[in-house]
Amino acid sequence: MKFEKIESKIAVLPVDNIDTDQIIPARYLKSISKEGLGEGLFRDWRLNADGTPKPDFVLNKPEAKGVQILVTGDNFGCGSSREHAPWALVQSGIRAVISTSFADIFKGNALKNQLLPVVVPADAHAELLKSPWATVKIDLAAQTVTLPSGRVVEFPIDSFAKQCLVEGIDELGYMLQQEPAIAAFEAQRVGSVNTLR
C-alpha cells in the first residue's frame, strides 16, 4: 500500500504526554487479532462508564466525522510498546498525528502501520492548536505540511521509513532478502555468543 497525500480537517487534542494506556487501555489487549481495536481508541476519555459518549471529547464532536489528522501535545504515544495504539488510530480513520515530538517506540510502530507521525516546529504547532477543524494538507513525498494560514512547513522523517511508505515497500520482505548476510554473520560468531541449549 502506498501512502498518498492527506487533506483533512484537524481534530485538536491539546494534551502533552498522551500515553498508550489512554490511546487504548490494557483491557483491549487480550485480542489475538488486530480487528475491532477502534472500539478501544481513547475509550476512557471518549465514553462514560455506562458507554454513552462524553460530548466534550474532541473525537465525539459532530465536526470530527471523517477527520484524518489529529493534532496533540508534546511526546505523544509515551509508555507501553503496544502496537495496538497505532492499530486503533488507523482503524478509526486517523492517518497522521501532528505534534512537537513522539515517543520512540510509538513512532516506530506508527510508521509500520501507515500512520504518519509529523513533528512540526513550535510556532506551526501553536497555529494548529488555535485552528481546530481547519483544513491541513500533508505531503509526505515533499515532507511538507500546509497550515491553515497557507504557510508551508517542512517536517523530518527517516529516509528509509519515508521510502517504505511512499513506495509501499514491505520491510519484512526487505529484511528476508538479506538472509545471506544474516547467515554469514551467524557463522562468523559461532562460539562467541550464547546459544540457549
Partner: protein
Amino acid sequence: MKPRTIVEKIWDSHVVAEKPGAPALLYIDLHLTHEVTSPQAFSTLRERGLKVRRPDLTIATMDHSTPTTSRDLPMLDPIGKAQLDQMTQNCKDFGIRLYDLKTTKQGIVHVIGPEQGLTQPGMTIVCGDSHTATHGAFGALAFGIGTSQVGHVFATQCLLQTPSKSYAIRVEGALKPGVSAKDIILAVIAKIGIGGGTGTVFEYQGSTISSLSMEERMTICNMSIEGGARAGLVAPDDTTYQYISGREFAPKGADWDAALARWKQLPTDQGAQYAKELTLDASTLEPMVTFGTNPGMGIPISGAIPDPASVSDPIEKSDLIKALKYMDLEPGKQLKGHKIDVVFVGSCTNSRISDLRAAASVMKGRKVNPHVRMLVVPGSMQVKKQAEAEGLDKIFREAGADFREAGCSMCLAMNGDQLEPGEYSVSTSNRNFEGRQGKGGRTFLASPLTAAASAVTGVVTDVRTLL
C-alpha cells in the same frame, strides 16, 4: 581507535549489514516474548509461510493476562484464557521454549530472563514490552519493540535500527536509610521529565550505581522508558559476574572464561562522548512518591504537590490541572498523610526477592491497616519459592496481606487484579497513567519500603518514621 561508549561497542558488534539510505540490520541475541504482543506476529509468520529463524534464541512466558490466584483454580476470563491457549499453541507450532503456568520457572518476562542466566552482558535483547530495558542492568542493549518488529525478529533474528545517542546519568554519594533504587529512578525522571530521554540510551554510572546490587540496578534500568529512553544500561562489573555465575543458561567452564574476557571489554572507554549528561547527588535524596498521572510527576515525601499557578507553559499548566483533577488532589499540600485504599508490591520494577525482603522488613510484627487491601505478587515462581523458604509469605499473610502467584498483576490490571474507580493505591510498579491500575483508579508510585509503610498506616507514609 576512537573511544567508544558501551552502547557503541555493543552496536558495532551486532551490525549484520549496512546499506546506504537504510537503517542497519542489527542482530538480536535474545528474544523474549509473552502472550499479549506476540499473537499477531505469529499470525504474520503463518500468513507468509515463515518459520521462527532461531527458536533457540527465543524464550516465551505468560505474565500479562495471567491470573495470580491459585494455579489450581480454573481461569475465569475466557478472553484471557484464549490468549494463553493461543500462546501455548504458537510455541508448540514454532518450537519455542515456553514457561507456562504449569512450570516452576514461569514469571514476569523481565524477572525470569536474569533469573535463568539468559540475560548476559554485551547482548542485544528485545521483547514486545517497553520495560525490556530492565536487562540493561547487566550491560546488555535491551529495548522494547512493537508487534511488527516481534515478527521481524521471529523471521530474521534481526531488526532494522538506527543508533541512539548515549545519555550519561551519574549518581554519586551514599543513599540515606529508607531511600532505595526506586527513589533514585523516580528522582531522575522527575528531574528530566518523561520525554527527557527520547532518542537516547541511558548509561547509569557513578559510585552509587556501582554500589547497588543487580536487583537494584534492574529497578533503575527498568524505568528508563519512563524517562523517554528505549534502553538504559549499567556497565558490567564483578557484581554482575557474580550474579550470573552458576545460573542455568550462564556459560560454564572454558566458555565462562571466554565470556568473562569479552565482558570485561565492554565498559565505556575513557574519553568517549555522551550526547547528554546529568549528575545526581544520592545523599540528598528522600523517599520519592508520585502525585500525578505520569511518572515524571514525582516529589520527595516531605515535598508539596505543585501548584499549576506557578507553571507558565499553557499546555503544561492544563496538564497539571488535569492530573490533579483526576487524582483529586490539592496543590500546595503534602501527599504524606493522604488516605489510601490499596497497596501493590509487585511488577517488573519491584517484585524480586530483595523487594519482597524490603517490604517484609517493614511488615514484620505489624498489621495492614484495616481499610487497606494489600497485594504482594512475586515476579516469578522462583521468587515466590525463595520468599516462602525465607518465611516472607508468613510475614505478609500474618500482617493481613494477600500473597499471590507470579505475574504482572495490578501493574496494568489485565488479569482482574485492579483498583476500583476512585481508589488510591501506593504501588511499586512503574506507571501512574490514568486508569493504568484499573479504570478510574489513582496510583502513587513508590518504593517497596514506602509501599509497606503506607500499608501499615493506611496513608502515604515516610518509611523513615517506621524504621
